[in-house]
Symmetry: C3
Subunit: 203 residues, 3 copies
Amino acid sequence: MSNEIFAQLIEGLGTFAFAISGVRLAASKKYDIFGALIVGFATAVGGGTLRDLLLGAPVFWLVAPRYLILTFVAMLFYIFFRRSVVRWGEAIMLFDTLGLAFFNMTGIKVALGLEASMFAAIIMGTITGTAGGVIRDVLIQEPPLIFQKKEIYAVACLLGGAVYAIGFYAQVNDILLQVVTISVVVAVRILSRMKNLTLPYAG
Amino acid sequence: MSNEIFAQLIEGLGTFAFAISGVRLAASKKYDIFGALIVGFATAVGGGTLRDLLLGAPVFWLVAPRYLILTFVAMLFYIFFRRSVVRWGEAIMLFDTLGLAFFNMTGIKVALGLEASMFAAIIMGTITGTAGGVIRDVLIQEPPLIFQKKEIYAVACLLGGAVYAIGFYAQVNDILLQVVTISVVVAVRILSRMKNLTLPYAG
Amino acid sequence: MSNEIFAQLIEGLGTFAFAISGVRLAASKKYDIFGALIVGFATAVGGGTLRDLLLGAPVFWLVAPRYLILTFVAMLFYIFFRRSVVRWGEAIMLFDTLGLAFFNMTGIKVALGLEASMFAAIIMGTITGTAGGVIRDVLIQEPPLIFQKKEIYAVACLLGGAVYAIGFYAQVNDILLQVVTISVVVAVRILSRMKNLTLPYAG
């Protein structure tokens, strides 16, 4: 399996996991299937969309219908297998973590490809990974999950971004550096979950 | 009356109806007149604004003060005639339906004019017709109406978009096709309302 | 002290005051320090970001890390001195008013610099001054403060914009005109607060 195909597979699984989280929360609010589809789609593509708008780049999903199709499949999957979804909670958490790590990496690369500064690139990585979840929570009228003292999430992206920046200036091989960056995000989130680490309250 | 003037009249009535719905809900939340004006304006132009941002096009209302002026007139109208507004509920519903259908058509045409794919154009039509209402509901802190099992709304736009796409590839005369597309959206919404058709819950 | 340095100082204090208001409200919602940082940042840069997106201009804070750094300092300041923050309420209100007035002026100048119409420039000034607070309130799930019958806020920007427009067409010296515009916004807000002036309800 080539690197390219591997990357697309991870991205697809991440999109699917993000879409499922949107569909699931929309369903819990008694939204109809159209509402669930839109909330799922906004969760899956919202981060990348905000990144593209802020960078002035073409919005990625307008030229690639697969994101909307994947969201539609995620919704059908949720509707038909929702008891299983509850049971498969840990698998979905893993996809979500992979999606977060991959989206973060994509955001950093897209920003650097547009000649943004490393500062902007790290922020764009974190936005790509996390803004979809914030938009989801605004659409279902709940206080955004990632702003609450529940788990380390956005900070995992920022740490991954910091590692990428150090490796970039140390001229580490880029493929290796991407693998390390993705691994850092995954490791930080999984370890913090296992150890119940959270950020302190703001006041 | 020429086609151009007819189109502008419909667009104006749609803008007015969308603005009224924003002003009315803002007033029900005890917002002041400035708040009502902004919520009305966001309802009226929010869908087209999101479309323009996603397509990277100039934002339409910045070069055309008439949208803000129409919103202002809608607010004055609401303040002075609000008892009538309640009585004229069905007339406003009709304007709202015409606005939805016209905005959907405008969104499709704007996207195709910028060489977007037909897939993107259909989505842009639906966004132009419906995103203003979602922004309105976020600003008044209510779960978005169109995500709920109440009536067929966004799906009417998608059906209209599908009809437009079929006619487009079958090389139907464009003026005729636009009239048919607008009629489909209007018919789907009115029929679904008369028959109390709704989408099923997501879960 | 040169004009340039004075302008940057006012902008810095305004950013700081806006960031503090976001951090403070996020803390009151039991958000963690990351959540408070993001809400503070969105409050401080949200208005200018929306302006840049609507105008199709490069987003200002991507090329200037100082806004994020200032927000971070504001958060630390809040965490360590929050009892004082309560006591210094009036000083923060003053910074907030200066920030509002300065952001309004910046928005007008940025829009005119991009050859927007005077109409669009006045709107962009008001958006630059006020949209950050609306985004803050959406993120903490509260009805936006500026839409409520509490104080004259956005209208102060609009009045400042009207004064700027009149002076612009009367060919008043631009530095003088900017000082007058900023003073009008500050004066309208402070006087309306002292006199408890508010806008009427919408219905």
